[in-house]
Amino acid sequence: MSHISRILPVRAEELRSQFPAHRSCKEFATSHYHRTVHVPDGFIDAPTSAVTGVVAAAAVAVSLRGARRELDERTAPLAGLVAAFIFAVQMLNFPVAAGTSGHLLGGALAAILVGPYTGVLCVSVVLLMQGILFADGGLTALGVNITNMAIVTTVVAYAVFRGLVKVLPRSRRSVTVASFVAALLSVPAAALAFTLMYAVGGTTDVSIGKVAGAMVGVHILIGIGEATITALTVGAVVAVRPDLVYGARDLRQRLQLRVGGELVDAPAAEPAVPVAARSSRKVWAVGLVTSLVLAGFVSFYASANPDGLEKVAADHGIDKKTEDHSTADSPLADYGVKDITDARLSGGLAGVIGVGVTVVAGSAVFWAVRRRRTDDVSPSSTSTTAGSSA
């Protein structure tokens, strides 16, 4: 650590006390860099930041209500401790090769372990506190950061996870596999959400195609890492305390009876609404296939008809080219609004729209099915540590 002190005007001891876990500058640089990928102020313009702020606030409000419905008076301590867990585990180094290491983002893990509502709350609180306490991520970018990293990842991961668990055979392995895929998709989804925000409100003039390409490319790699860590961690928890895993609620251990000196499987409890269970499985399978077809179709259509998009843009007058900053007649003009009729832009934008529609469609299917289900047994009632308190 001594050579760092020659570069930065601080004492080596101070650094050592602050970053005790580091053993090399490279480790410090890479792990610390990863910690501050939160979007800073000024990256996304004010109007877009405001809109994402409202979206984030609404989603958090919904999650508060949902979490309280599930956990009741245990919400604050349980969600708080899980948030502390996410906060701590984000600092765990997963070494990749000499010097570089990956880190867990945690949205998918949170969704699978404690459910979507509590998951969104936990990651949002972590991001909020990182922004306010550690100046990690801009205060005006809180809406952007929370929407990307807390909401999109968690919702997408949970939707994919539930969908897969419904169609896969009921076993612990399915839970692990579903966790992997869910986490794998959640990361590029967040990257795409960010690209969308950038397309609408980015303050720089880098072509959206380039941004999308860079973002999605890198994030697929990160997604693989995230997926591996998430699947392994979920597997580890399910092996010891499956009752604590929200996503594994449906896996109940088969009880056995001792009949005439022999162990016999107890008859499985009748599912509450057997017809609905069977048909909901079908709905999920159909939903997944539909989403994929939709994604392919829309992307194909969009990319095959860039002129169509241009025409739409021209019809609606959103193709104004703004070049002269000094004679701008509206604040928005100065934020470098990209010309949407740019060919490269429309191509990239098409891809974004395609996946965006997929995510929305998938989530819509998920919400629709969720509403029709009867109330689930939450993990709190299967806890054996203490009975109810008053």
Partner: protein, 252 residues
Amino acid sequence: MDAVTASLEVSGLAFAYPDGHQALFGVDFSVARGERVALLGPNGAGKTTLVLHLNGILTGGTGTVKVAGLPVGRQHMAEIRRRVGIVFQDPDDQLFMPTVREDVAFGPAAAGLKGAELEERVDRALQQVGMAEFKDRPPHHLSFGQRRRVAVATVLAMEPEILVLDEPSSNLDPASRRELADILRSLDVTVLMVTHDLPYALELCPRSLILSEGVIAADGKTGEVLADDELMRAHRLELPFGFDPRSVTMGA
């Protein structure tokens, strides 16, 4: 007991966990006001289960628990929880607020106290455990022994009828152990102490109960209980190396 209402009255308490494991098989005992009683017993005897019944966290078994005449049940839960102050083993679980002051204030504030009255309670409780200067510190700045003491204060602030301590001397260095013993001796409250620390029990508690296999197996003067070799052996209780209860003259 006699004319004065007992601080704690447990009769016929039996309880089994949802997974089928029965922990208590009919526990009967009483603790008079101002008494200091030690609850001894091997691991797995049901001591923690019993403690969780005293403030109604565990319910659903048979038998009754009465605290200063008030039965433990849905009806008077808030008052029961004020009267029974449980100090759990891990102080970190009990100090969950950002500062010591807020932790100690939590109990009385939940009972409705505010403003100057609340501050007074907090100050008094902190004085009693000797932690008044640490009022505005965050809990993780305190040593383990200090956190234990603050945990006791959080419960004292509610002015309980009976103080129940779960392994109060565990993980404390000898100096902290002594400090805690001095504090407990100075308090004017009924004390029920679950402990493995037999010298500590002898030092602080004139009376001891042995809970073994879910029932009270012995109830008597601590010195006598500890000196009864057969009884001790029968319930997996052992004296520390070199410790002879018969030779202890001071303390309880």
